[in-house]
């Protein structure tokens, strides 16, 4: 009886909307039989996107996108609202997962040569989606509306300002005016919540449509190159002979992987939590050390390490060239071998990219180029004197800011060379010359030290010898 009603309702809905049959047909489209765990990253990205949409909409219930309120609503969400802290954590680690899965998906598609004929536009739309995802990550960090957000906007505007001709205009656009203020945050809110999601939905739709249109690529076989003349017929034959329905033969792996991902995200959100809020978004507080979230930490390192005078090339042309190369890739190399074992350069490119980003990331986390403003004065045991020129010199080493950039026995900054054993390599005269004249990354102290202070400082540094037996 119930079954009969169920069927009648189902048939009615199908007749009036046509959706159940269409969805069923789409879900059961045939996919290559060997598409296994390597194929889960794309749907995992989609899964992460869904988490972002759901948690983002929920956060919007309590968030006020105004410069004066955003920060306090963030505090309310984090500290008072039931589940608020958990929800923020989900949104943060969901974003992290999305960036990570986009990266893995891209690497997998690249290594398997799946971007080749006829899937050039699958790849190109994917590259755009990567860009949108990074913009979402960047703007999302700003919506926290804390001090870090203020300075991140300023740094972004400064970077945009280096663009030839339209730089000032772009910087003005990013700030929403001449300075950070009331107009700044509402812009980023509109971009994060309306404009970018609009683009993402449109291009995810297109991306999925293309996946259905060209089918999921079969796992590559060495010695079986793609020939645009014959590929279509070969793929059709493979699918008709051996294809399996996507749902459920292949989709179960996507579901399992997605759920594992959700569990990991939830665990991180519960036990590690979303990033702490910084100070209030007051641009007049000068005690700030702006840092991006982890997924842009490597770029933070690029900004620090680019050689002097090349900023314009790194800031503007760098991302532009990377974008053009990525989009052009499938159109230039749309045929030939797909197997990574026959494309050693593909493996090399992925490895180099991973090593490069990882190295820059580690450098970004350590950020040895940032002066250490909190270095306490050197302890008596390190100095080895409690009065006299050596003692005075050690005091000056702290007070004159030397310790902000130089290490002495693991105390101080890492911007400049470690001076723990500097007397091993520099004579007294060499030290005076160096301190008085400075260098590319060191100020000249000639006008900043009296002769007596210079003597004391050098006397202290002359005692910095390695502990030889």
């Amino acid at each position: 009886m119930l079954k009969k009603i169920y069927h009648r309702v189902w048939d009615w809905v199908d007749d009036r909307t046509g959706l159940p049959k269409m969805i069923g047909k789409t879900a059961r489209h045939l996919v290559p039989p060997d598409a296994k765990w390597w194929y889960v990253f794309g749907s995992a990205t989609l899964c992460a996107l869904m988490i972002q949409v759901i948690t983002g909409v929920a956060l919007a219930f309590s968030y006020i996108p105004s410069a004066s309120e955003a920060y306090s609503t963030l505090h309310f969400i984090s500290d008072q609202a039931p589940f608020g802290h958990f929800l923020r954590g989900l949104h943060y680690y969901g974003a992290s997962a999305m960036v990570l899965m986009v990266g893995l998906h891209m690497a997998q598609v690249f290594l398997a040569g799946s971007y080749k004929f006829p899937r050039e536009l699958n790849w190109a739309t994917g590259v755009l989606l990567l860009g949108f995802t990074l913009v979402m990550g960047f703007t999302g960090q700003l919506l926290r509306g804390d001090q870090n957000a203020v300075w991140t906007v300023v740094v972004a505007a400064e970077q945009a300002g280096r663009t030839p001709f339209i730089g000032q205009w772009l910087a003005h656009f990013i700030l929403g005016g001449d300075t950070v203020g009331g107009a700044t945050f509402t812009r980023f809110f509109a971009i994060h919540v309306f404009i970018m999601p609009g683009f993402i939905f449109a291009f995810v739709g297109l991306h999925l449509w293309l996946v259905l249109r060209h089918g999921i690529s079969e796992p590559p076989k060495a010695g079986k190159p793609v020939d645009p003349k014959t590929y279509g017929a070969e793929y059709k034959e493979l699918i008709e002979k051996k294809g399996k329905p996507f749902w459920p033969d292949s989709a179960w792996r996507d579901v399992v992987f997605c759920v594992v991902m959700i569990v990991v995200i939830a665990a991180l959100a519960l036990f590690s939590g979303a990033p702490q809020l910084g100070k209030p978004p007051d641009p007049s507080i000068t005690t700030a050390s702006p840092r991006p979230d982890w997924y842009l930490m490597w770029y933070f390192a690029v900004l620090a390490l680019m050689p002097h005078g090349t900023e314009q090339y790194f800031l503007v042309f760098g991302p532009l060239i990377v974008g053009i190369i990525l989009i052009a890739l499938p159109f230039v190399f749309n045929r030939g071998e797909r197997s990574p074992w026959r494309r050693p350069w593909a493996i090399a490119v992925v490895l180099m990219t991973v090593v490069m980003i990882a190295t820059l990331w580690v450098a970004g986390v350590k950020s040895p180029w940032s002066p250490n403003f909190n270095a306490p004065p050197l302890s008596a045991s390190v100095v080895g004197a409690t009065n006299g020129p050596v003692f005075l010199g050690a005091q000056l080493f702290h007070d004159k800011g030397c310790l902000n950039c130089h290490l002495i026995a693991d105390d101080g900054g890492r911007r400049g060379p470690d001076l723990t054993a500097v007397a091993d390599r520099l004579s007294k005269n060499q030290m005076v010359l160096k301190i008085a004249n400075g260098g590319v990354n060191m100020p000249a102290y000639a006008a900043n030290l009296t002769p007596a202070e210079m003597d004391a400082l050098v006397a202290f540094l002359q005692t910095r010898k390695s502990k030889s037996p």
Binding site: W369, F373, G401, N441, A447
Partner: protein, 177 residues
């Protein structure tokens, strides 16, 4: 379900010339009228979004303290409000500058924004240096570059003394070209 005309076309049945030109006319009419509609909606949207570029902001003088509250030879942080803070700007409407009193009646107001990437530089009073927390840019007390990546000296803001008050003129955040 299917349109009869579509069936006609697919079976190759030719439409009369008059009908064709009528169709062409209707298609063009729809596109033209549609464009007018699109323009009516687009103009205010684009204008609204681009408005900040066309309004020239009136810069104003802001008092940051009495002359005698600044010691000769010292550099201190001063805070003041933006030129035209929006009602909902809250603390984001605040600006800051490093104010140096050179002698009895000369003041210099430095931007707090490093010329490298705009991070807020800090004044190290003992060392007589400005230092940037982001990438280690360093400036001397007169704002010239002492070390690190900054391409230009610290920008200066107009500053004056009026009725015993030190006043700084508001200015856009300096963007290095």
């Amino acid at each position: 379900m299917k349109e009869t005309n579509a069936e006609n076309n697919s079976t190759g049945c030719p439409a009369s010339t008059a009908e064709l030109s009528r169709r062409k006319f209707l298609a063009r009419l729809s596109l033209a009228v549609g464009s007018v509609g699109a323009v009516i909606v687009t103009v205010p949207v684009v204008g609204f979004l681009l408005a900040p570029f066309f309004e020239r902001r009136q810069e104003v003088w802001r008092s940051v303290g009495k002359v005698e509250s600044f010691k000769i030879g010292e550099t201190t942080a001063v805070q003041y409000e933006d030129a035209s803070p929006l009602p909902w700007a809250g603390v984001t409407a605040r600006s800051a500058a490093w104010l140096r009193r050179v002698n009895a009646d000369t003041f210099i107001a430095f931007s707090i924004n490093c010329t490298h990437l705009g991070c807020p530089v800090r004044w190290l009073a003992e060392a007589n240096l400005f230092m940037c927390p982001c990438h280690g840019g360093v400036y001397y007390q007169d704002g010239t570059v002492a070390a690190g990546p900054p391409p230009l000296p610290l920008p200066r803001y107009p500053v004056r003394v009026k009725d015993g008050d030190v006043q700084i003129q508001t200015a856009p955040i300096p963007i290095t070209k």
